[in-house]
């Protein structure tokens, strides 16, 4: 034994290399289930809205009053019977009937990059394992490949608008899983997506593709002994071609000004719109990670009535998220799509800092769920008057809802056995889909089943 199972890795890749677009192929038996659980299987796909930076829970879904609070948040009671900031989130106020609001969520981290890592992988940062631990979306992709249909033309894991940076860290990817489990990365700030072919360019593109097929002798020469990267690139090339030339792709990736306006005409709105399209196309996209940056309001959070940072991010979220929920319901897709919305942590409650902002805070935060059988209009958990501590967990586990519980809930909704583990990792340590070891404690993480009952 050597601690680095390079050979296993290579074999793992070799088996899957042509699998991307072929759908039927064998997976190595390196994934083992631990115990008998019955995943719910109520969702065909998941849209995860990642509020990067850490949204202010006491201004939004766990609204608190204080002399620091601006009047124009317009806090009123909803038909569901809880206080809500109509001034900040007016459109979402109309969609609360679809939303399950968890006020008893907690994060493990208060550093952005570590918190984002947690959110995207459901695991604690471990320097020894950071290269091999796959993202939640990659594990979902890995599972999805086993049920891939020949008509599927979209990759199972799509990540939109995540901007890697020193502060937030890189977008988490496939780790030790095969490269085809990596996310398709789309940046909607640049709307010239290379995946979209203009109709006028199509004949020439087709001619070039045929020429490439005919003339690329280096592709013709590929066989099992060819370098893995070349085979992978060839496989991706065919997958991209399949995607680009699918008649549905233009309806998925091309958006009209009217549609965009309904979602707020922002990069985040565009991404939500494309997430909707991907779900509607039923083309094999399973996990759509949509990131909205800008929630790190250390200063000038409120500004002068409607000018502060929070108002802008809330307005963008309000337009896009409400339109997404409305469309999913209208298109009868909400029952088969789980929508999750949360940040990597919350913000410090009470008085503002000298910079008129709020710092990072782990103990309390919100997590929102909708669709796939989740009962909307509900409220789970409660915090004290300041929003500093959880006073009621609101679910049977009698502890906060942690990122691991959110992952478990997502796995379960997609019909994935969350007790599985990957045994042939490079480090030799098993990768558990849901790892009970969180920090120094061992916790029995579970699905938030109460969302459905």
């Amino acid at each position: 034994m050597t601690p680095f199972h390079r050979r296993h890795l290579l074999r793992l890749g070799a088996l899957t290399v042509s699998g991307f677009e072929l759908a039927q192929f064998l997976r190595p038996s390196n994934v083992h289930a631990q115990s008998k659980v019955t995943p719910r299987g109520s969702a065909k796909s998941v849209i995860f809205l990642n509020l990067q930076g850490g949204p202010s829970q006491m201004d939004m879904f766990d609204v608190k009053m204080g002399k620091w609070a601006p009047e124009n948040r317009d806090v009123r009671s909803t038909p569901q019977g809880y206080q809500f900031p109509y001034g900040l989130l007016p459109k979402l106020a109309d969609r609360l009937g679809d939303l399950a609001v968890v006020r008893s969520a907690s994060a493990w981290e208060t550093v952005h990059s570590r918190g984002q890592y947690y959110l995207q992988t459901g695991h604690a940062v471990s320097p020894a394992r950071i290269k091999e631990a796959p993202a939640l979306g990659s594990v979902i992709a890995y599972e999805a490949f086993q049920h891939r249909r020949s008509t599927d033309f979209l990759p199972p894991f799509v990540a939109m608008n995540y901007e890697p940076s020193t502060m937030y860290g890189p977008l988490q990817s496939e780790g030790c899983l095969p490269a085809d489990c990596s996310p398709l990365i789309l940046d909607l700030k640049d709307r010239n997506l290379p995946f979209v072919l203009d109709a006028k360019d199509r004949p020439r593109f087709d001619r070039r593709w045929e020429l490439l097929k005919k003339m690329d002798t280096s592709r013709h020469a590929l066989d099992d002994s060819s370098p893995q990267g070349m085979r992978q690139f060839d496989s991706f090339g065919r997958a991209v071609h399949k995607m680009m030339t699918n008649p549905a792709i233009s309806t998925v990736l091309q958006t009209t000004p009217e549609e965009r306006a309904a979602y707020g005409s922002t990069p985040f709105g565009d991404a939500c719109l494309i997430a909707r399209n991907m779900v509607a196309a039923d083309g094999g996209a399973k996990f759509l990670l949509v990131t909205q940056p800008g929630w790190d309001h250390h200063g000038n959070i409120y500004g002068k009535l409607g000018k502060g940072g929070l108002y802008k991010t809330c307005a963008d979220l309000d337009a896009a998220f409400s339109a997404l929920l409305l469309d999913l319901r209208r298109l009868k897709l909400l029952d088969s799509t789980l929508v999750v919305c949360m940040g990597e942590f919350g913000r410090t409650p009470g008085e503002l800092t000298p910079l008129a902002g709020r710092e990072h805070y782990a103990d309390t935060m919100f997590a929102l769920f909708a669709g796939a059988g989740v009962k909307g209009g509900r409220l789970y958990g409660a915090t004290d008057a300041a929003g500093a501590h959880i006073t009621d967990f609101g679910w049977s586990a009698k502890r906060p809802v942690y990122p691991e519980d959110v992952c478990t809930t997502i796995y379960s909704a997609l019909g994935i056995d969350w007790t599985k583990r990957i045994t042939n990792t490079p480090s030799g340590r098993d990768f558990l889909y849901v790892d009970p070891a969180a920090g120094t404690k061992s916790i029995n993480f579970r699905e938030v089943a109460e969302l459905y009952s």
Binding site: R6, R7, I185, D187, N192, M215, S225, M244
Partner: protein, 569 residues
């Protein structure tokens, strides 16, 4: 009895290695092990394959078609040696103007810029650091001297003293973002310097002891303690690194503090145990500074005189040139698994694929005065480097660590997009931030921001192709779907393949007298793939150009840029 062909080939290559005028120590070990393991070995690389490879590896660029044509036609048996020599710029002679065109210097300066994460937080320091590296390479400063300078330099401003940016780059601010956390900073310098210069990653033991964490990861580190990392960091405990003159963030680097203080609060790691000896102690030997010796001077001396320093260096550059280290993962050395005469307990195995080669190559590097050019030439001159990437019959992926064929890789982001521009004949021009200069290739830029500010579409493409951002993102040669889509249909590619003003196609097609279609096809193959087209390729190409010459030529360029063997080498 039939002798398998592959063992004959390995034996012949081994014999050649042993009987060459200067026996090549690399080939002796590589082909010795191949023969002993009865592993099939690839054929020698063709002249084209070799030329494209050595250009990309040593200079980061594709050869010009004229160079390729001349090289392929040259019948001199020494032509590979000659071409290798031509890639290394001559040393500047006193009083003479230095060579203006030195792709070798650009490529390796970029390599060190990435390695040292010479990025945006340093602001104007990016340029002084870059220039320091560039000049050190120009003068061929011995690698050990180069590293000692990075460790020991004092500076009143990193914007004036380039090499001080290495230490300054590891600075850690308090959570408030204004005050420097000196102990955290010392930890980071210790971690970075041991990682880059010894190949040993102390990240894990910077938070906790190795025991109960690293038993299955790294045998040597599993018995190291967190306090040993502190004692390593303690060499920088007196070092004062601070944004100076209130002009954030140019730094001063001086030894004016009292020393490493365990009572301070860490903003990155679990609280430090307050009861530990933190006398500076070199982790590999237990040596301490001599009485009265400056701590950083002591560390630089101990670091660069330790055999692991040269071993880590040759392994790092070997990995960069050969595609995989002798120890795979240049910063993942397990020091308890290096010596075949003192093997680790089962189930551990010796870590290097070729431990004797690693030691001898390190000794050779030391004996040649830590001369990087000597090391690079040594590697690319070997027959092992010059094997074909095509697998011989009976190949298994487990043979990779034998280096019995070239490890084919995707071009790096910078190589790829300079290559696209080269084929297109596209004039690149990137404004150097904080300087009144422009770069003509991506490889000449100081940091990714130079491209971002001058040419957003190319910057987007570079990001998609795994460019290192010198912060959160490491350089990657992993293929992705987006890369494939960009090469097929991004506007950058659609523009680059056009017969546009100043493009290679325009120059070619509108030359007077007009070249034949066959000559155009030949020139494009030479430019993109460093080889002549086969007869069939030439005929297909000519056919393509016959009806609509310009459109056909554009389509041919598109095909060449989308070939797998354009993007891989």
């Amino acid at each position: 009895m039939r002798v398998p062909l592959f063992s004959l080939l390995a034996a012949a290559l081994l014999a050649a290695a042993l009987h060459a005028e200067e026996p090549n120590l690399i080939d002796r070990h590589i082909f010795g092990k191949i023969q002993a393991g009865r592993v099939p070995v690839a054929a020698p690389a063709s002249d084209s394959e070799f030329l494209r490879r050595v250009y990309l590896d040593v200079t980061g660029r594709l050869p010009d078609p004229a160079v390729t044509r001349k090289f392929l036609a040259d019948s001199d048996p020494q032509k590979r040696t000659k071409i290798i020599d031509s890639l290394f710029p001559v040393l500047p002679i006193s009083g003479m103007r230095s060579v203006s065109e030195a792709p070798f210097l650009d490529r390796w300066t970029y390599f060190f810029d990435d390695l040292f994460r010479n990025g945006q937080l340093l602001q104007e320091g990016i340029n002084t650091f870059h220039d320091h590296i560039y000049k050190s390479l120009t003068l061929n400063i011995p690698y050990d001297e180069f590293v000692r300078d990075l460790i020991t330099v004092n500076a009143v401003s990193t914007w004036a003293t380039g090499s001080a940016n290495f230490i300054a780059r590891s600075h850690v601010f308090e959570g408030d973002g204004y005050q420097m956390n000196h102990e955290d900073t010392a930890d980071e310098i210790a971690i970075n310097s041991t990682k880059l210069f010894l190949g040993v990653n102390l990240e894990c033991i910077s938070c906790h002891d190795g025991a109960n964490h690293l038993e299955k990861v790294n045998l040597w580190l599993s018995s190291r303690k967190r306090a040993e990392m502190w004692r390593q960091a303690s060499y920088f405990g007196k070092t004062f690194i601070d944004p100076s003159y209130g002009r954030f963030p140019h730094f001063q680097v001086r030894d004016s503090r009292k020393g490493y203080d365990l009572s301070t609060r860490s903003s990155l790691r679990p609280p430090r145990n307050k009861k530990a000896d933190v006398t500076p102690t070199f982790l590999l030997t237990g040596e301490r500074p001599l009485p009265g010796e400056n701590y950083r001077q002591a560390y630089a001396r101990q670091l660069t005189s330790h055999p692991q320093f040269a071993r880590a260096a040759v392994n790092l550059f070997w990995a960069e040139l050969m595609g995989q280290g002798i120890v795979d993962g240049p910063f993942d050395f397990d020091l308890a698994r290096q010596d075949p005469k003192n093997p680790p307990p089962a189930p551990w195995t010796i870590q290097p694929s070729h431990p004797e080669l690693l030691d001898e190559l390190a000794a050779d590097f030391r004996n040649h005065g830590y001369d990087l050019r000597h090391l690079f030439k040594r590697i690319v001159s070997s027959r092992a480097y010059q094997l074909s990437g095509k697998a011989p019959a009976g190949w298994k992926s487990t043979y990779d660590s034998y280096f019995a064929r070239r490890m084919t890789r995707r071009l790096s982001a910078e190589q790829a997009w300079d290559a696209v521009a080269h084929v297109a004949g596209h004039t690149q021009s990137y404004k150097i931030t904080y300087a009144d200069k422009r770069a003509a290739t991506v490889m000449q830029t100081r940091s990714p921001q130079d491209v971002e500010k001058s040419d957003k579409p190319t910057f987007t493409a570079l990001q998609a192709f795994g460019q290192c951002d010198r912060y959160a993102i490491e350089a990657s040669r992993k293929p992705t779907m987006v890369q494939s889509a960009i090469l097929m249909n991004d506007r950058v590619i659609r523009e680059r393949v056009k017969v546009a003003k100043g493009s290679r196609l325009e120059t070619l097609l509108r030359a007077d007298p007009a070249p034949s279609n066959a000559a155009v096809v030949e020139e494009l193959y030479l430019t993109a793939l460093s080889r002549l087209p086969t007869r069939e390729e030439s005929e297909t190409g000519v056919e393509l150009l016959r009806e609509y010459r310009e459109q056909g030529a554009e389509d041919l360029v598109w095909v060449l840029l989308n070939r797998l063997d354009f993007l891989f080498y």
